[in-house]
C-alpha cells in the first residue's frame, strides 16, 4: 500500500525533474539528488538496495555521456567541470525517474487513475490483466526453454523450432488475454452503473482499495514544490547555478 497517491508522487517527481533539466553545474544536481532521496524515503521507497543497484546500472548511461563529452567536447573550456556537471545531471534524472517505480506499485497508478482521474474501469483493469500476463509470459517462456532443452539434449535447436516456439508463446499470451477479458466480463466489468456529470462519465463503482487524493497528497506536492524553488533560489544566490538546456 502506498503512503501517497501515485499521481501526487508523479507530480513531485516532475517538479524535481524540471530544475535538473535546466541546470548545468556540479552542485545543483547534487542538492536535488539529496532532496529526491529524501522525498522518496518519505513517500515510501521500497527495497533501497535494489534501487541503488538499478541506478548504478543506468548510471553507465551517464558515464557514456561523460566519455562522449571528453572525446568530442561541445565547448573546449572547462572540460572536466562540464563532464562532471553532465554526469551529475544525468544521474539526477536517472535517480528521480527510476525512484518513482520503487515507490509506486503499477497497480496503484492504475487505481489512482481510475479513482482520481476518471479512467474507465474496463481500461484500468485491462491494464491490470496485461501486467499480470507478464509473469505468465515469463513462466511460459521458461517452460518452453526447458522443453526445448529436454527435447534436444546436446543437439543444436533448429532456427525453425525457435521461431515456432516464439509463435507458441505469442499464442499463449493471446489466450491469457482472452481469458482475463472473459473473466472480467463475467464479473460485471461491462455493467458498472454510470452517472453523467456534465459531459463526463462517472463510474459508480465501490472499491475496497482506496487510492484517493487526500490532504496529505496536496501537502506533499506543495512541500516538494516549495523545497524545489528554495533549492533553486539558494543555488542561484550562492552562484552555483548555471543555466543550460539539453
Amino acid at each position: 500500500m502506498n503512503k501517497f497517491n501515485p499521481i501526487a508522487v508523479l507530480i513531485c517527481s516532475v517538479i524535481l525533474l524540471i530544475p535538473l533539466l535546466i541546470t548545468f553545474d556540479p552542485i545543483t544536481p547534487l542538492l536535488y539528488i539529496v532532496f529526491a532521496i529524501l522525498m522518496y524515503s518519505i513517500a515510501g521507497l521500497k527495497n533501497p538496495l535494489q534501487y541503488g543497484k538499478t541506478v548504478l546500472v543506468f548510471s553507465l548511461l551517464a558515464l557514456s555521456l561523460v566519455v562522449i563529452n571528453i572525446i568530442a567536447p561541445n565547448v573546449q573550456q572547462k572540460i572536466l567541470e562540464r563532464s562532471l556537471a553532465i554526469y551529475l545531471r544525468s544521474l539526477g534524472l536517472i535517480m528521480v525517474s527510476i525512484g518513482y517505480f520503487y515507490v509506486i506499485s503499477p497497480y496503484d497508478v492504475v487505481y489512482a487513475l481510475m479513482q482520481t482521474a476518471g479512467l474507465s474501469p474496463r481500461i484500468g483493469f485491462s491494464l491490470f490483466a496485461g501486467w499480470n500476463t507478464v509473469p505468465l509470459f515469463i513462466r511460459d517462456m521458461n517452460t518452453l526453454k526447458a522443453a526445448l532443452a529436454f527435447r534436444y539434449g546436446r543437439k543444436k535447436i533448429p532456427f525453425r523450432t525457435r521461431l515456432f516456439g516464439a509463435i507458441i508463446l505469442l499464442s499463449h499470451a493471446v489466450r491469457h488475454g482472452e481469458r482475463a477479458s472473459l473473466s472480467m466480463a463475467v464479473r460485471g466489468i461491462d455493467s458498472i452503473p454510470v452517472k453523467k456529470v456534465g459531459s463526463r462519465k462517472q463510474y459508480l463503482r465501490s472499491s475496497v482499495k482506496k487510492v484517493y487524493w487526500t490532504f496529505k497528497d496536496t501537502i506533499l506536492c506543495i512541500a516538494v514544490a516549495i523545497g524545489s524553488i528554495l533549492l533553486l533560489l539558494i543555488s542561484i544566490q550562492l552562484g552555483w547555478f548555471k543555466f543550460e538546456l539539453g
Binding site: 491490470f128 526447458a146 539434449g153 489466450r175 472480467m184 464479473r187
Partner: protein, 458 residues
C-alpha cells in the same frame, strides 16, 4: 418454480467450423436445480455451459439457431485455467472485484469477502498476489470469487481439476451446506464428488444432451483402483514382454526447498526416495505442498543442493546429462510441443515414428497439428516423444488434469508400455484413484515431509 434458462432446439456452431459443436438441445434450468453435466472431452460440455452462462454469442462468437431464453438476474462463473483469469494484485481484491462492479457498499464487501476467505481456507493468503499461489490455491481463489457473488446461478467448468481430494471435498461440503448456492450447473469429470449435491444429471454425447440418473452417468466413470485396472481389457497391444525392475535411475537424497531468499520457511525437507527402471513412483499431496517443486528440482529447473539428486548412481554430471536422461511432461502438455505435425514431434525416422504412434493409439494422426489433438492424445504424444528420445526417467506433472475417464484409462494403460521399455516413471498427482492404479510406490508429501503410503513388493 421460477425458470432461469430455457433452450429449445438449440444448435451452436463456431465460426471457424462448419460442424455444430452442440445440436438440437432442449434444456431448462429452474431455481433449485443443481445440474451435473458429464461426458467425454470435446463433446461440447464447456460450450453448453458458456451458452447457459450467457457468454455466447456476446463474448464467444458463434452462430446459434433455436430459442435461448435467459431469465436469471445474476450469475457467477468458474472457468478452467484459473491463473489466466486473475485480474487484481491480491486475493482479497480478487474476491471483491465482482462485488465492487455492482457498487455494493465497501463495508458489506469486506464482511462478505472475509467470510468467504475463511470458508475457503484462504484467509492467511488474503494479501498474497494470486499468481504467487499454487495452481490449486489459485483455483480456490477463483471458486471463492464466484461464491462471494451470491449469484442466482453458479456455473462451474471443471472446478475441482486442480484441487486435491481434501480441498475438493470441503468445497463440495461448502456448497451442500449453504442455501445461497441452491442453483448450479457443473461440468466435471470427477462426478462422484457431486453425487449428493446435484439433483439433476445430464450426459453429453457428441453434441447432444440427455437427462439421466446418476448411476447411468457414472457407469463409465468409475473411480480408478488397482483392482479395477487389472480387471479391464487393455487397449495396449499385449506381448510377452514383461516389466523387469532394473537399477535405480533416480535417487533423491535429503532434498529440501524454500522459496524465501534466506532459506527460512522450508516448503519441504529431508525428502528422499528412489525410482528404479521399470517402476512408477507417485508423489501425492495437497495443493501447494511442493510436489511440482520436487519435479523442477530433479529436472534442475530450480537450484539443487549438492548430492540431492543422483542420476544413474552419479552425483556429478552436466546439465546436458540431465537433459539426455530425463523427460518432463508439464501440467499443460502443449508446452512440450515444438513442431507443426505429430510426426515431426517425434524427430525420428518415419518408420520408427509410425510404430510408436500406433503403439500409443495415435495412428492416422501423423499429419495433424499437435495442438489440434484432444487433451488425452496430447499427453500420449508426450509419452510417445519420451519413448522416441529413449529417456530413462519420465516425469509427469498432474497428468490427469483435464482428462475424461476414457483418456485417463488409456493413459494408465500406456504407462505399462513405458515401463516395459525400461523407463523409470515419476508422477505427481492429487488424484488418489489414478495414483493407486499406476503407482508401484506411492509417497505422500504432507506438511513438508514425505511419507510412504504404499511400497511395491519385489
Amino acid at each position: 418454480m421460477h425458470e432461469f434458462v430455457r433452450l429449445q432446439n438449440c444448435t451452436i456452431t463456431y465460426r471457424t467450423s462448419k460442424r455444430p459443436i452442440v445440436s438440437n438441445i432442449d434444456f431448462s434450468l429452474k431455481k433449485g436445480d443443481r445440474v451435473l453435466i458429464g461426458g467425454a472431452s470435446g463433446t461440447g460440455k464447456s460450450t453448453l455451459l458458456a451458452l447457459l452462462a450467457g457468454l455466447i454469442p456476446e463474448y464467444i462468437p458463434a452462430r446459434i439457431t433455436g430459442t435461448v431464453s435467459i431469465a436469471y438476474a445474476s450469475r457467477a462463473l468458474v472457468m478452467q485455467n484459473p491463473e489466466a483469469q486473475i485480474v487484481t494484485p491480491s486475493v482479497f481484491e480478487e474476491l471483491a472485484f465482482a462485488l465492487e462492479n455492482k457498487n455494493i457498499p465497501e463495508l458489506q464487501i469486506v464482511q462478505k469477502v472475509e467470510a468467504i476467505l475463511k470458508l475457503a481456507g484462504l484467509y492467511d493468503k488474503r494479501d498474497s498476489h494470486p499468481l504467487s499461489l499454487s495452481g490449486g490455491e489459485c483455483q480456490r481463489v477463483s471458486l471463492a470469487s464466484a461464491l462471494a457473488q451470491e449469484a442466482d446461478v453458479l456455473f462451474m467448468d471443471e472446478p475441482l481439476s486442480y484441487l486435491d481430494e481434501t480441498s475438493s471435498s470441503s468445497l463440495v461440503a461448502l456448497l451442500e451446506q449453504d442455501e445461497r448456492y441452491d442453483t448450479a450447473v457443473i461440468v466435471e469429470h470427477r462426478l462422484e464428488l457431486f453425487k449428493d449435491y446435484c439433483n439433476r444429471f445430464f450426459k453429453v454425447t457428441d453434441g447432444t444432451i440427455e437427462e439421466c440418473k446418476f448411476d447411468e452417468l457414472i457407469k463409465n466413470h468409475c473411480v480408478f483402483s488397482a483392482q479395477w485396472f487389472s480387471q479391464k481389457d487393455s487397449h495396449v497391444a499385449k506381448d510377452d514382454k514383461k516389466t523387469i525392475i532394473g537399477e535405480p535411475v533416480l535417487s533423491v537424497v535429503n532434498m529440501s526447498h524454500s522459496y524465501s531468499k534466506n532459506n527460512k520457511n522450508l516448503l519441504f525437507s529431508d525428502v528422499s526416495f528412489t525410482v528404479d527402471a521399470g517402476t512408477t513412483v507417485v508423489i501425492m499431496g495437497a495443493s501447494g505442498s511442493g510436489k511440482t517443486t520436487i519435479l523442477k528440482k530433479i529436472a534442475h529447473i530450480l537450484t539443487v543442493g549438492i548430492n540431492e539428486v543422483v542420476l544413474h548412481g552419479k552425483t556429478k554430471y552436466s546439465m546436458q546429462y540431465v537433459r539426455e536422461t530425463c523427460f518432463i511432461v508439464p501440467q499443460n502438455p502443449e508446452h512440450m510441443f515444438i513442431a507443426d505435425t505429430v510426426l515431426n514431434e517425434l524427430a525420428v525416422s518415419s518408420d520408427k515414428a509410425l510404430e510408436y504412434l500406433n503403439q500409443f493409439g495415435l495412428g492416422g494422426m501423423e499429419r495433424r497439428h499437435p495442438f489440434s489433438l484432444s487433451e488425452g492424445e496430447k499427453r500420449r504424444l508426450n509419452l510417445c516423444v519420451a519413448l522416441a528420445l529413449e529417456r530413462k526417467l519420465i516425469m509427469l506433472d498432474e497428468p490427469t488434469y483435464g482428462l475424461d475417464y476414457e483418456s485417463t484409462r488409456l493413459l494408465i494403460e500406456y504407462f505399462e508400455l513405458l515401463k516395459q521399455n525400461g523407463a523409470a516413471i515419476l508422477v505427481v498427482t492429487h488424484d488418489r484413484g489414478f495414483a493407486e492404479a499406476i503407482g508401484d510406490t506411492i509417497l505422500v508429501l504432507e506438511q513438508g515431509k514425505l511419507q510412504t503410503m504404499r511400497h511395491m513388493a519385489i
